[in-house]
Each structure stands twice: as C-alpha cells, then as structure tokens.
C-alpha cells in the first residue's frame, strides 16, 4: 500500500469535476457533509449513508491494563469510540486490486465430496439391513460348527496358520505395489487384501504384526487350503478387537455395490475378517506372551504336529486359548468369482507417467491431468505411498509415478467410482 494521502481539497476538485458543479459548491458540500455527519453522530450515535457506509459510536467498557514500562496496573476508563463500517459496494471497489483472487482449498478436493456423490441416502438406508444380514450369517455359521466337531483341533490349525500368515503378509505388499512376487497371492484373494488394507490403520497393534509377518513369510508356507477360514475365530475376535466394527462397516459399504452377489460375499467377508483378526491375535500373542503363558504344554504338541519351526506354533497355540475349544473350522471358502474393480485391491505395476513435484504441485492437479478428475488423486497417492507421508505435502523434487488405472475405476459417469475414491480420500486424509 502506498502512503499517498490526498486532502479534502483534492477530493473536492475531483468531485466538482465529476458532478459538474463549481468548486465552491463542492467545498461547501464537503464541509457541510462532515459537519452534519459529526453532529448527527454525536446526537444519535449512528449515521447511515447509503452507498458509503455507517458511522457509529460504540461504548468501550473500562478495563484494566498494565503499563509496559513500569509494570503498574491502571484502569482504562470506559469511553465512546467512533467506528465506521463501509457498505459492500464500497468495500468491493476498495478491494478491486485483489478482487480476482479466490480462496484456495489446500486439502485437495474435499469440497467435491458433497456435490459429486449421488444416492447418498439410499446408501445409508440399506446399511442397517446389511448389518443385520451379517449378524444372521454369523449366527448361521455358528449353528453349523458342532457337526464337524469330531476332528482333532490341533491338526486343523496348521492350514489356518498358513493362510493367516499369508494374509498378514499382504499389508506389506500393498503399500509397495512394486513387489511382483506377491501378485500371485493377491490375485487369489483380492477380497482379503482389501480388508486388510482398510483395517490396518485401525488395528489394535499394527506394529508387532508386520514383524511377525516378515518372519513367517520367509518360509515356504503351505498353500492356502480351501477349508481355511475359521468362523469360530470370529467369536473370539469380536471381543478382542473393537476395530472389527469399522472394518465391517467399510466392507458393508463396499459390498453394497453388487447387491446380487451380496450373500456370497458375506461369506467371503466374514471369512476374511476372521483371518485378519486371527492374525491380529497372533501379533497380540507375540506382544504379550505372558497372557498366554499358562498354555505352555499344548505348544509342544503343536510344534510336532505341524513340524515347523517355532514362529507359527504360537499362532496355533494362541488360537487354542482364545478360541473356544469345541469349535473346529467349518466353512467353505468362497468360490472364485470374477474380479470386481471396486472391491479388489489395487496393485500398481504399470505407470503411465512420472512427474517431478515442484512448488505448487498437488496430487489433485495430477489426477485432474491424467484421470480427468481431481477426486482420483487417492490412487496416485496409493501408488506413491512409500514416498509420501502426507497426501497434502509434496516435497519439491519428489518423483510421483502416475499409475495406470482400470478405466472402470475412473469412470466419471459412474457414481461408484466417486464413492470409492471419496471413501479412500476420507481414509487417507483422516488417518495420516
């Protein structure tokens, strides 16, 4: 702002020029104007001038203050103060140099969330229906159990360990989509992977889990057996981990997208929840071995039966303690079904471009450039998760790889695309 100052004289000459009056009249007007305003202000306490603003006298209450030099307290007496509030039109003219500037949203496209998602209400309505459905399913599965009770539990456990640990390895794989070796497993069980990916941030103890995972994944594991999923674990697990709720709800939302296959998927889902939680429980065991120490003897048996080095054994043993003993595994693995873009986890192997971040690069802008919409930034973020701590912060110089995406995933005319993306967005922006 310049410090130029013009006096009323200059204003008067400009005024005379503009209105076509003599300077004398303009001068008289100005003087009278300020006098009248002053008078009226002191008399009425308020003067409103249309197209200019409002002068007002406001009362400032007395308050105590401290003299900064001497540290003494003193009282500022109450007094009247003149305030001026310009009218909107005047403020607009004054602000004209900056009028072209708009507020900028710094956190990506959160604003679009509200506008771009149709069918939000039916979504919520069906939510409770599905919740009750899952409850029924679990009840059914429990009713099933006693029939196959006869089998020795220990033997049953071993395949479970295999699958459970394999499931757990996947969280490692997903943040770093480059790891090709994992792809086979991922292809086989897309469902579980999604689940784990979604819940891993909410897990009770995410730290210990990966450690165990590393240990186990190094060994050649038993191939995933179809009988693997353990419904009984669901019981134990539901008490153990409150996180299940949110995992379930996420899944419910996700599942809703294909109502036809719903029930089939519920089996699948609950199976995956079970597996995940078994994994969590195992991690829990490693963290707090003293909780399970009273079951030291069974451990030996398991080791022999399974004929494996120690790490998997505690998993099995832990199950013995947590799971009710009379309930062995029952449940068919969900049959193979066509891949679904929305529930399937995303593995980024192909990249269509690489961008180097500069000052002012946002994932949303890259997303707009490559996918045609800002909301799909989440996939770029997923593909570059190992480099980016916070999706809102792109350190200049960072190489951002733009993954090739399934066109069905970024269909601008498909509400499901937006729903999934915004769900992920919420996840990434709140859990960071």
């Amino acid at each position: 702002m310049s410090n130029d100052k013009i006096s009323s004289l200059e204003l008067i000459s400009a005024l005379a020029e503009q209105t076509g009056t003599t300077k004398k009249v303009a001068t008289a007007f100005m003087r009278q104007f300020s006098e009248t305003v002053e008078e009226a202000l002191l008399r009425d306490g308020i003067v409103k001038i249309k197209g200019f603003g409002t002068f007002k006298i406001t009362w400032n209450e007395s308050r105590s203050s401290i003299n900064v030099n001497t540290g003494e307290r003193y009282e500022i007496a109450g007094h009247n103060k003149i305030t001026f509030t310009p009218d909107d039109e005047v403020s607009e003219i004054v602000n004209r140099p900056f009028a072209h500037l708009e507020p900028v949203n710094l956190d990506g496209s959160s604003v679009e969330k509200t506008t771009e998602l149709p069918e939000e209400d039916p979504h919520m309505k069906r939510f409770s229906e599905q919740a009750s459905e899952i409850v029924n399913l679990i009840a059914d599965m429990q009713a099933f159990k006693p029939k196959k009770k006869a089998k020795p539990t220990v033997q049953e456990e071993s395949p479970k360990i295999g699958t459970a640990s394999e499931q757990i390895t996947e969280p490692i794989a997903t943040p770093e989509p480059i790891e090709e070796e994992q792809s086979e497993i991922e292809a086989e069980q897309p469902q579980e992977e999604v689940l784990i990916e979604e819940t891993k941030t909410e897990n009770v103890n995410p730290e210990p889990e990966p450690q165990q995972v590393v240990a186990e994944s190094e060994k050649p594991e038993a191939e995933p057996t179809p009988e693997a999923p353990v419904p009984t674990d669901a019981l134990a697990v539901e008490e153990a981990a409150p996180a299940t709720k949110s995992a379930e709800s996420l899944l419910i939302e996700r599942m809703e997208e294909q109502p036809a296959r719903r029930s089939l998927k519920w089996l699948y889902i609950s199976a995956s929840i079970v597996i995940l939680l078994a994994g969590a429980g195992a991690a829990c065991y490693f963290c707090f071995p003293e909780l399970f120490s009273h079951t030291a003897e069974p451990k030996q048996v398991v080791v022999q039966a399974v004929a494996k080095p120690t790490p998997p054994a505690p998993v099995a043993q832990k199950k013995d303690t947590v799971v009710k003993p009379e309930t062995p595994a029952v449940q068919k693995a969900a049959p193979e079904k066509p891949k679904d873009v929305f529930s399937e986890s995303r593995v980024y192997k192909e990249f269509i471009a690489t961008e180097t971040a500069t000052e002012g690069t946002w994932l949303t802008i890259l997303s707009l450039k490559y996918y045609g919409h800002k909301l799909f930034w989440v996939y770029i973020y997923e593909a570059n998760k190992n480099k980016l701590r916070d999706p809102g912060v792109l350190p200049p110089g960072t190489k951002i790889r733009i993954p090739k995406l399934d066109p069905r995933l970024i269909d601008k005319h498909d509400g499901r695309c937006f729903r999934l993306a915004s769900k992920l967005q919420t996840l990434y922006t709140t859990n960071q």
Binding site: S7, F33, G53, V90, V94
Partner: protein, 96 residues
C-alpha cells in the same frame, strides 16, 4: 440518522436541490472508494482519515471439516477519526 435525514438536512442547510445533494453524496463515495483502492488515503480535515489497509493472505481451517483454505489478501477501508472528533465522542456521555 439515516440517509434520508442526512440528505434532507444537507438540502436545508446548503439550499441546493435534493437531487443535487444525492448526486454529490454518491460521487463522493465513489471517488473516495476509487482513491482508496489505489492505496491512497483521504484526509478530511477535522473529521478523520479514510485509509485502505491491506490484509495479508492467510490459511484458515474449517474447524468442522478440517479443510485448510488459503484466504487471499484483501484491501479494506478503515476510518480513523481525527483527535478532535475522538475527543468529542469521548465526552459525549452517550453511555447510559
């Protein structure tokens, strides 16, 4: 006092047609605002100074959605009454 009363009063004292007064008032506001938008302050002797102040850009956070928004800089009109007027206001004892 509202705008109507002000114009009536000015018309009475200056003995000018009402339309003229309205036009003058509007022109005054217009001119002043334009000067101020250039960053020039307008001093009306014995009454006060109209200044424009620049408010710097800032980041505001919506407390509910936690969305950070960059608010652009802007220029606002500020009126600083003259000492004379300030004192008169202080002594006016308008406070009940």
């Amino acid at each position: 006092m509202n705008n109507k009363e002000l114009t009536t009063e000015l018309t009475r004292i200056l003995e000018l047609p009402k339309e003229k007064i309205t036009a003058l008032l509007e022109a005054t506001a217009q001119l002043m605002a334009e000067e101020l938008s250039k960053g020039t302050s307008v001093n009306m002797q014995g009454f006060g100074v109209f200044e424009s102040r620049r408010k710097e850009e800032r980041v505001s956070v919506n407390p509910r959605t936690k969305v950070r928004t960059l608010i652009p800089p802007k220029q606002v009109l500020v009126f600083k009454p003259s000492n004379l007027l300030k004192d008169k206001a202080k002594q006016s004892n308008r406070h009940e």
